[in-house]
Amino acid sequence: MIGFLSYNAQWVLLSTLLLGMASGLIGTLSYWKRQSLMSDTLSHAALPGVIFGFLVAGSKNMPLMLIGAAISALLGAWLISWITSSTRVKEDAAMGIILSVFFGLGIMLLTYVNRMPGGGQSGLDNFIFGQAASMVSNDVKWLCVLAAVVICIVGLLYKEWKLFLFDSAFAQGLGLSIRWMNAIYTAVLVLVIVIGIQAVGVILMAALLIIPAVSARYWTQSFRLVLILSAAIGGLSGMLGTFVSTLGSGWPTGPFIVIAASSIFIVSLTFGTSKGLLVVYIQRQHQRKQVIIAAQQRRVERGQ
């Protein structure tokens, strides 16, 4: 299946596999931190940074644009925590504000760039819905390395994440620095977003962070397996979506990845062994039957 793809396409496929795995892992952390929407906000917040990086470089200089993305996503994260801690505005509202303001700013900058001479061919539009095919193998190799780093950070700190997410007050008593864990969490989240926005786009990046984590929950009750499964689902969706999107010319990658991920979600929701709809339905039917049988028995006993 992979053999007939070009050298570049093979690298792109590998990068979306690693990206999917990394997002599956970080998405699980976000989910249990009850901050799934934060990932959506931060990926939208990355857009103005990308365009700003382009304007500074004067050309499509990927490293500079991605650094711009990281800076504006981090700025968004910092603003949310500042708004939440020093005003009466609650976190959900703060996220809503940052998401729309940053995204609006990004679109404004994008429109400006597109009207510049030659700007229309910049390919910056691809950052909105993602275009994996437009990535060049040199950039892609770097993205693979970064995704691998993210995967390692989650793996090495497995026990620490678990403690931090389950009971951070207790973790602090054991000497785990909550401030550091939060900083590392934000750093890896932003890193994954930066890796992903080119392939998946700022609008749909959150789906790759949220959907695998939610799907994994329907199969297991062990945190380790949730992480592994979420990484597998993310990787599979990333690769599948990219592969399908390369079949047609100019098809955006993001939507296909999201469709692949949400198909897996629907299967998990329905057939998942841990609280999947079908299992719950069967269990209920079984219980109902037991109750009816017990009632009949009682009636028979009374009758005799």
Partner: protein, 245 residues
């Protein structure tokens, strides 16, 4: 005897409301103290401020003549059961193992000996049969026992428990109080936020009556008097009925 816990002029606030004001007390080693006071008296906050989980406005706290950061290893904390998400994908044994993460060492995985210690603590709490049970499938009392087992494996010298008896069944209440008595008899110091005034005299040898500041503190038989209770609870003590003789 030198005090094992020493709190001096501690004050703390939530936003604009000052919750604790000039809290001042010393606790002797090997005592079992209940912290008693009305809702909003700052009982949980007091523990959180002592353990650096909530910022203080002023004052200082020392454990065995050390500041909290140095004494951390000697302190076990059992937060309120409702403070964590019991839907988290993990089982009872894993939660108890968390108490040993400090010994395991950061970045390392728990070994067999850690597992055995955790299992032993679960057995002591009568929870051996539930070690593989999903924590969301445990009853409130069972969850509380898991929390206490997690604190036990820490083998601390000082224990803080935030309402360990809230909403638990009678059997669990007995197991928990037996365990705390055992800790005390082994020379450990235990402080417990407690709600049920009826059982204070049976369960605790010391009592700290708190309402934003210390109203009275000392041996239960000397301090747990109607006058002090009235000073702590004010007019809200009506329901006490029988106790107010």
């Amino acid at each position: 005897m030198l005090p094992v816990i020493s709190v001096n002029n501690l004050s703390a606030a939530y936003r604009k409301n000052q919750v604790l004001q000039d809290v001042d007390f010393q606790v002797e080693p090997g005592t079992l103290t209940s912290i008693v006071g009305p809702n909003g008296a700052g009982k949980s906050t007091l523990i959180k401020v002592m353990l650096n989980l909530h910022p203080r406005l002023s004052g200082d706290v020392s454990f065995m003549e050390m500041p909290y950061n140095k004494a951390k290893k000697h302190i076990g904390y059992v937060p309120q059961r409702g403070s964590v998400d019991w839907d988290f994908p993990t089982n009872a044994l894993d939660v108890v193992l968390m108490g040993l993460y400090g010994n395991v060492g950061w970045f390392k995985w728990p070994q067999k000996k850690h597992r055995e210690l955790a299992m032993q603590a679960l057995s002591e709490m009568g929870m051996a049969d539930y070690s593989n049970r999903q924590i969301s499938q445990l009853s409130g009392g069972q969850q509380q026992r898991v929390f206490l087992a997690r604190a036990l494996v820490q083998d601390a010298d000082i224990y803080f428990l935030d309402e360990p008896l809230a909403g638990v069944d009678a059997a669990t209440e007995r197991v928990i109080m037996d365990t705390l008595q055992q800790l005390k008899s082994r020379g450990r110091t235990v402080m417990v936020v407690h709600h049920d005034l009826q059982t204070v005299e049976d369960y605790f040898d010391h009592v700290l009556l708190l309402n934003r500041t210390v109203i009275a503190h000392g041996a239960t038989d000397k301090v747990f008097t109607n006058d002090h209770l009235y000073a702590t609870y004010g007019g809200t003590l009506r329901w006490m009925g029988e106790r107010v003789r």
